[in-house]
Point group: D2
Chain length 135, copies 4
């Protein structure tokens, strides 16, 4: 299992006129979480893409439990709970607010695809070998 | 049942370096869809909020089937399939690409809440009366 | 001279907790304005880029005079006041609010560049010939 | 004079299909820079707003010299070079890319305003007293 956390503040740009963090900004937070989780195990998404593999999103589920507010320092906890199989790679997330409460939970499924054709492809052995020791 | 459609183009701002519309921009598209659906039945979200009622998002589910691309004119179809009960209001969505294919499906659940306290509250009789004839 | 207008509403996603349209969303509005101005004279930016020419932004100036608000229908007026020379293409903008007041003025300078090398290049004769009749 | 720096990475959400950081995301970077500059001298923008004072943007100028790219760690250097007078507060910025080159320069002028009326007002003596020792 891979579990990784990162922290950052809600930007003013991300608020809406309710005074909350706009619900459409959370996918970008989840993206930061998974990029940092991959970085921790030695996979840099930028290099992955340069090598011809991209990871578009196939599905997204978010439960908004407690609103996040401007300037709050949030903690995104990203979990890869199973070794990816085939072309799918699921991630699950918890976002903690400044008080340490679970403000949000989310699941994102990525798909390995070719940057040239856009078509799904199997996860490479190279990546599998990097990930295996964690499972 | 309320079904409403609106059309707009993917902005350059909404693309990412895969050359696709970034997955985090879809929630804003869904928001446009539901605001227009409400406008069609005579409810202006801006006025609702001015009157003290807001509709934060409780949950979001998106399935990304076909990528959307820059300058593509998309059609967002918003459906309210059941009369809201209690404090919840679910919407379902289909996004059609320029070829008329279903590129995305989504479900969003909103919650009626007070702009003053932030707490959930029951849908008002006034709103129910506007919505009832459609169901 | 080319003058083009387009209209659209401020999205909820674009508000901030002041209750205004966030200042960082205006560049996307200006981008819509100039893409529509080019479309009106028969130039589709998407095709330009597919043909190997891109137009990154070199400089941006915005004066925020009157705040824009949620759901307001704004009018972006885009003006190309001189035939582009060399590799630079300046645009000027006025954004009108729902009352018809000038809420914002802006100037954006684009640069013709190669999508392959990223390097600036001269405007092509083909584009110049399309633009010339307007000046 | 107040000079403050902060570092963060360009998000995937912030790229566009040119493969660059989209020009409309820079205002949010500048906002982070000035919020951190104020935090360093003991002013928390969130509290300022809670106390009834907000700082909407009056004007913005950006020069884009070198494109920023995905996952690049940028350094935003924010400078307040003169003690604010009246209701205006100008900030100037340099954004350094990962190589240490100046990728962007910018100037933003904020205006002190009342959160209740939206009208400009003079900078308070309390804020002036916090800022004075730096000039």
């Amino acid at each position: 299992m891979i579990v990784s956390t990162c922290k950052f503040r809600i930007r003013y740009a991300e608020t809406d006129q309710m005074g909350y963090c706009y619900y459409g900004n959370y996918p970008a937070f989840l993206e930061i979480g998974r990029v940092e989780a991959l970085r921790e195990v030695g996979i840099r998404y930028r290099e992955l893409e340069e090598s011809g593999v991209m990871l578009p999103v196939s599905s997204l589920e978010i439960k908004y439990k407690i609103p996040l507010r401007y300037d709050e320092e949030i903690t995104v906890e990203t979990e890869i709970s199973e070794l990816p199989e085939g072309s799918r790679m699921p991630f699950s997330f918890k976002i903690y607010n400044e008080n340490g409460d679970i403000a949000t939970t989310a699941i994102v499924v990525l798909v390995f695809a070719s940057t040239k054709t856009g078509k799904p492809q199997l996860i490479s052995d190279e990546l599998l070998n990097i990930l295996k020791p964690y499972f």
